[in-house]
Amino acid sequence: MPPKGKAANKPKANERECSPKQQPQQQQQQTSSSPAPAPTPTTIAERSALFTDESRPFESARRKSGIASLPRDAQAACIALRFARLPAPARNRLPPKSQRELWRHVNDASLPIRALKRNYDYGAAGGWSFERYADWAAKRTVLTCLEGASRVFREKRESEKRGGSDPVTGERVVLTQGEIDEERGRRREMAALRKELYGVVTGRLEADPEWDDVVPIPQEEPEGALATISYLGEYAEAISYLRAVMVKKEYSPRCLKLTETIIEMNPAHYTVWLYRAANIFAMKLSIPDEIQWLNEVSLEHLKNYQIWHHRHLLIDNYYPTIADDAEAVAAFGASERQFLQQILAEDTKNYHVWSYRSYLIEKFGLWDVPEELTSIETMIDEDVRNNSAWSHRFFLIFSNPANSTPGVAATEHDPAAPAAVVDREVEYAKEKIALAPQNQSPWNYLRGVLVKGGRKLGSVEDFVQGFITGLGSDGEDVKSSHALDLLAEIYAEKGDKKQAELCLRRLAEKWDRIRAGYWEWRKKCLETA
């Protein structure tokens, strides 16, 4: 009997959904006791309220004045509905005869067995027009269909992975590229619909059938974790897939692409750089191609640290493959130099770039390539105060195996430094000092060269004296505190403590007062020398 009751109600339900405009009429027929006809609904929420009233035909009257005040047929209907709406086990406690009567009554009076919930929350959609809602619902249907098709695809993929066969044809399941492309398009459509219908953003990877087999490992932060960052969806998703593939130690084109995506968003993520390098080496990808890619990234992120270590790793790996080919080494060295010059033109003192440059020279043995020295000279000509360029010059000349003994410290005399080279560098430094005598870079260089070459500091005394006039006298003039500093050392070297002390005193009193404590200590050094 319950099926009958259901059947009796069903057409009504359909009818209501299809013809909302007839509702007020019906309502009038059914609830003769309701006073005024409700206004024609124009929104989803209004129509819903109407349906709810309709599913509870005697409720308003009963609530208002109690069941006793209702007409007799309405009272009977109320009681019948009360029992009909009981859960089956409770209802079955009625004697069978009463149950039969109940259903007969419900059927005859066409009573609505199911009542709608009051004040259903449609959210923003409550204010929508029927047309707009219908459009939304139609899209929802499309999404449901797509999801169904997508599930079929996933099942097929699973089956393919298991090596399963088609239950109809018995053939082994193989996904075609066409099917994969179709699924990719489908996912795009689904993502767009989800966004439109529910405002849910689907991750790029989640939407990509290529990543179906990876279960992402999302970031888990304990309660009260410190220094947490509210990542944007795309970054969070990419990182959670990164964790998953790193755990699997997967090295594949899709992983390489993933590292690129993350690097674009956060180039400071050292983990992803190391993993990228591992991918390149595992797949034996072309190093020059990677360097080409890296060049572009480097120009975008000038201050980044990881980029240069990545390059370092690439070169360590690449060099042995070309080491025997002098031409290839030279060509590669030249292209690297060209790129380094380009990047140093943008950021002339970039520490990581200079460090990499010295590494490259050593690795490739580019000590005697004339362009290297020329390009450094050009940089010094452009800014004689560029200490990075000076440092590189010192390295290029005095770490050259032809000019140096392994294990000799930078601040020590090296007998292997050729006299001609030392002479040349002393002259070079002097020439640059003359341009701007208070520039410390060439002074440090000059002193460094003299020590390296085992020369007496006094060998440049005349030059140094040229920047100092009338020391200790009324007409005292000093063009360079660094000259005065070196002069103090020259006097100390000669054993002339008095003059050395005078230099240091004048530095502390007048020419470089901020370093008074240091000059004081230097004076004490004269005693112990």
């Binding site: 410190l226 790793l313 002339t348 560029n386 208070q438 520039n439």
Partner: protein
């Protein structure tokens, strides 16, 4: 707040005594920088409270408020910090601690955060499930030391840490910063600090790249030689051999060497001290008073620590001449290398200059926090290291001889602990207010000594892992 009664010595506000006429990009940037800080140098910056010396008060409350917010949660644009999260924790906690705050209330949160960043294979990554890195491990271990307590110390998986350090140790003595990562002085320093604080055994595992069949190599062997190769012709230290001398690496090099034994012996054994001091001293500029990181580069508040923080260590190594200006230095320490260097004078650098730069140029008077220089925004990195620099300017450290009887019989394998003593620096004119003293910070570990001792003695007392 223009004040009329203050006078700033011309050394700290006028042009330097010597200036070259030649203009190059470097000098143009330097001149622009000086112009942009002119108000600060002349004690005329807005919203700072100057004393009669033209030195502003330390805006302690504002800096505390700022640092309480730099431990997150951060909005999405902080994504670049995703691989440095332990650093944000260390900088903030350290800064708060230097300002006199008690940070032990953060213990539980540091512990929880550290747990998810620790890898089973040893060490801490920059965030959850990231590759372990020496820098982030250093920051995390120091953070645990700062919040203190057994629960915090016990977070560290020391056995895994030891194995991981062995994997990073290179045959040339240095350390890679992560497996397959770069090798530099920073890594050498961070590893030494970690080994010391956690009392990690020095033996190498057989799969360490530095392992030798004769068993002679250990975690610290060759480290001094590695650091030595990083000293440049200028006297400063480069990040790796053959690069330019840079302030941050000077601190790392000294800190690393200071943990290899008695710093008075070890530091001069591996470095040319007179050249290093010359270079360090050249980093302080007038009129700014602050330090630059390299020759011909601009001053930056963070070098108050990286360069400024070298002086307490150097002064402690040289010994400080108590009876100054007599020209007769007491025979300070026995120098096994036959080095004959005099004790340091009352100070080797201009403490006044550094204090003026820090309080006058590095404070953000609006929202608190400290910075590189006027015109730059405050951040936890600069806040931490500027305050550490202030501490170096305000204190003086000395090394005392070890009490032999306290040396444990089986501590031969661990690092010998020299005894560090600290006093507020009292000599000369003090230009800042007594209330603006910050805590004394250990010259090697960059945290107060009590925190360093608490964690180290905890692990020294522990049997096995």
């Amino acid at each position: 707040m223009a004040t009329t009664s203050v006078t700033v010595p011309d050394l700290f506000c006028a042009d330097p005594a010597i200036r070259d006429a030649l203009q190059t990009p470097t000098s143009v940037t330097q001149d622009e920088t000086l112009n942009s800080m002119a108000l600060n140098l002349n004690a005329r910056a807005e919203r700072l409270r100057y004393n009669a010396h033209g030195v502003p008060r330390l805006e302690r409350k504002k800096h505390v408020a700022f640092l309480r917010k730099t431990m997150g949660p951060f909005p999405a644009q902080y994504v670049h910090g995703d691989a440095s999260r332990p650093w944000y924790i260390y900088w903030s906690l350290a800064g708060l601690n230097f300002l006199g705050e008690d940070v032990s209330s953060y213990r539980q949160r540091v512990v929880e955060t550290a747990r998810v960043m620790q890898n089973d294979t040893g060490g801490f990554g920059g965030g959850g499930k990231q590759t372990s890195h020496l820098a982030t491990t250093y920051a995390m271990v120091l953070s645990l030391a700062l919040v203190g307590g057994e629960e915090a110390f016990e977070v560290v998986d020391r056995r895994a840490m030891w194995k991981w350090l062995c994997a990073l140790k290179q045959p040339d003595g240095g350390f890679q910063v992560s497996v397959g990562g770069e090798e530099d002085v920073r890594g050498a320093y961070c590893a030494s600090v970690i080994i010391s604080l956690l009392n990690i055994p020095l033996d190498l595992t057989a799969d360490s790249p530095a392992w030798t069949p004769d068993g002679s190599a250990n975690l610290l062997s060759g480290l001094g030689e590695y650091v030595r190769r990083c000293q440049t012709y200028e006297g400063g230290i480069s990040g790796q051999p053959n690069a330019e001398a840079h302030g941050a690496y000077a601190f790392c090099a000294l800190g690393c060497l200071a943990l290899l034994g008695d710093p008075r012996q070890v530091v001069p054994r591996y470095l040319d001290i007179p050249r290093l001091i010359a270079w360090l001293s050249s980093r302080q500029y007038a009129p700014e008073g602050g330090f630059s990181g390299r020759t011909n580069k601009l001053v930056d508040g963070c070098y108050s620590h990286w360069v400024g923080g070298c002086f307490p260590l150097i002064e402690a190594c040289l010994g400080i001449d108590e009876d100054d200006n007599k020209g007769q230095s007491p025979p300070t320490q026995e120098r096994e290398d036959g080095l004959n260097l005099p004790a340091a004078p009352e100070t080797l650098f201009s403490r006044e200059g550094l204090v003026r730069y820090i309080l006058g140029c590095c404070q953000n008077p609006e929202r608190g926090g400290l910075r590189d220089k006027p015109g730059k925004g405050p951040d936890p990195y600069h806040s931490c290291y500027v305050l550490a620099g202030l501490s170096s300017a305000q204190h003086q450290w000395q090394l005392a001889s070890r009490w032999e009887d306290e040396k444990e019989p089986d501590s031969a394998e661990t690092i010998d602990d020299p005894v560090w003593l600290v006093l507020p620096h009292l000599d000369g004119a003090r230009v800042y207010e007594q209330e603006d003293l910050v805590r004394a910070i250990h010259p090697v570990y960059a945290i107060p000594q009590q925190h360093q001792q608490a964690i180290r003695s905890y692990f020294l007392a522990k049997e096995g892992f």
